[in-house]
Amino acid sequence: MYIPQTWKSFFLEAGEISSFTGRFFSQFFKPRHEFREFIRQCYIIGYQSLPLIGLTGFIMGLVLTIQLRPSLTQYGVESQLPSMISVAVIRELGPVITALIFAGKIGSSIGAELGSMKVTEQIDAMEVSGTNPFKYLVVTRVLATTLMLPVLVMLSDAISLYGSYLGVNIRAVTSLSLFYSQAVDILTFGDVLPAFIKTFFFGFAIGIIGCYKGYYSSKGTEGVGRSANSAVVVSSIMVFVIDLVAVQITDILNLN
C-alpha cells in the first residue's frame, strides 16, 4: 500500500513523541528526584512568564469588552457584559490564549535550550557527570509546565476580568463588587472545572513537545532554530487538538 512520505513522517514523529512520553512516565517515578531543579524550573517557567501572561490577559479582557459592547447594546443586554466576558474568558479564551502565549514563550525556550545543550554536548557531559539527563532536564521541565500553566491561567483569567471591568467603565459606571458578582454568579461547576483541568493537559503537551524537539535536535545551530520553531508550531496545534477533545468530552458528560 502506498503511503505518502509526509504521512509516514507524521506517524513516525507521533510514535516517537508517544515513546518519549512513555519514557517520561517511566522516569518520573524512579528516584533520584531532581527537586531543586524542578523548583528552579517552576520559577523560570511560572514566575518569569507572569508579566507577559498578565499583560496579554489584561489586553484580552479589555479588548473583548470594548468589541462586545456595541453588539450587546444593539440587543439591549449591555448589562450582561460582565457575565458574557466571564463565561468566554473562563471557559475558553483564558485557557487557550494563555496556553498559546505560553507555547510561544516557554515551548520555544525549552526547545532552543535543550537543542543547544544537545549540539554543544552538554547533555552528554551531564550523563558523564553521573546525572540522568532525561530526569534532570525533561522530567523537571515537563512537570513545571504542567503545574505552572494552570496557575498562570487562573491569574490571567483574574487579570483579564479586571481588564474587562476597566473596559466596562470606559462608557459606563459600575462598581468592582457589582462587576464581580455579575461575573462570578453566572459561572457554574461545568464552566470552571473542565476549563481548569484541560490546562494541565495543555501544559503537559507544551512541555513534552518542547523537550522532545530540543532533546533530539541535530544539524548544529540550524537544528536548534528548527527545534525551537517546530516546538512552538506543534505545541500550538496540540493545544487546539486537546481543546477539541476536551469540548467533546464535556459535551458527552453534559457539562457544556
Binding site: T120, Q122, G130, T131
Partner: protein, 257 residues
C-alpha cells in the same frame, strides 16, 4: 589492501597495568561502518594519542569507551570492567574515575564556573560537605590558573579559558583516566600549546592515564607517549612520535608531512 597493524615501538621490561582495553570494536551508523575490529590498550600513567582524519571515528571511539555510545560488536574494558555489561548505576560509579574533556567544552551555559565545577562533585560524591566542595573547586581552578573566574559565566570567558575550565571540571573528581576529545581544536596555536603543557602537568601531578583524540600534530608531539593511527576504522599503526615519523607507509606519512 591495508597492511596488518604495524607495531613500531620497542619492547620494555615492565608492563604497567591496563586501564583501558578495546578489542575488536565495531560501530556503524546505518550503513556507515565507522569502526571495524578496532583494538587499543592504554596502560597506567600512559598518554596515548589516537590520530586520524576528521570523521574517521575518533570521537565515536571515546564515546564507546565512556558508555555514551553502545558498540555493535567487541569488548570495551575500563579499569577491568566491561562497559557494555554494566548497569546504569555501575556505569555511573565507573565514570567517577574517568574524566572527559569534550571537544566543545560542554560547559553548562546557565551555570557559573563554580556551579559547573560543583555539578559532577554533587552528583558523584553526595556526602561531600560544602566546605570540602569549595576547597576542591578552588584547587581545580588553581590547577588551570583561573581561580579568579570562579563567579563568572561561561559566556564571559574566552575559548582558551573555557577549555581550561572544562579541564578543571574534568579534574575535580581526581579521575584515574582522562579522555580528551580534540583538546586544542578551535583555539589559537599559543593557547593550544598552553593546553598541551597543562595536560602534561596534570598527568604528572595526579598520575593519570590519558587517551587523547587529536589531529593537531603540535599537541600530539608534546603529549603522546604512544600514537595509534586510526585509518579506515582500524588501528592501522602504533608507535612513538619518532618511530611513526620515520615510517615509510604513505597513510602514516601523510600526517607527519
Amino acid at each position: 589492501m591495508l597492511p596488518e597493524v604495524q607495531t613500531i615501538s620497542t619492547p620494555t621490561n615492565k608492563i604497567p597495568e591496563k586501564v583501558i582495553s578495546v578489542k575488536n570494536l565495531k560501530k556503524a551508523f546505518g550503513t556507515n561502518v565507522v569502526l571495524k575490529d578496532f583494538n587499543l590498550e592504554l596502560h597506567e600513567g600512559e598518554n596515548v594519542v589516537v590520530l586520524g582524519k576528521s570523521g574517521s571515528g575518533k570521537s565515536v571511539l571515546i564515546k564507546c569507551i565512556i558508555g555514551l555510545l553502545e558498540p555493535d560488536e567487541g569488548i570495551v574494558e575500563v579499569l577491568g570492567q566491561n562497559v557494555t555489561d554494566l548497569s546504569l548505576d555501575e556505569l555511573d560509579r565507573l565514570r567517577a574515575n574517568i574524566g572527559f574533556l569534550f571537544q566543545s567544552n560542554a560547559l553548562y551555559d546557565s551555570m557559573t564556573v563554580r556551579e559547573n565545577l560543583e555539578f559532577p562533585l554533587r552528583r558523584h560524591w553526595m556526602q561531600v560537605t560544602q566546605q570540602e566542595v569549595n576547597k576542591m573547586v578552588t584547587e581545580a581552578l588553581e590547577n588551570v590558573h583561573l581561580a579568579h573566574t570562579i563567579d563568572m559565566m561561561p559566556a564571559e570567558l574566552s575559548g582558551g579559558m573555557r577549555k581550561r575550565i572544562a579541564l578543571a571540571r574534568t579534574l575535580i573528581l581526581a579521575p584515574k583516566i582522562i579522555l580528551y576529545d580534540e583538546p586544542t581544536t578551535g583555539i589559537d596555536p599559543i593557547t593550544g600549546k598552553e593546553i598541551s603543557e597543562l595536560m602534561i602537568e596534570i598527568g604528572e601531578k595526579y598520575n593519570t592515564s590519558a587517551l587523547i583524540i587529536s589531529h593537531d600534530m603540535k599537541c600530539i608531539k608534546l603529549t603522546a607517549d604512544r600514537i595509534v593511527v586510526l585509518f579506515d576504522g582500524k588501528c592501522y599503526a602504533t608507535g612513538t612520535w619518532t618511530e611513526l615519523e620515520r615510517s615509510k607507509d604513505k597513510n602514516v606519512k601523510q600526517f607527519f608531512e
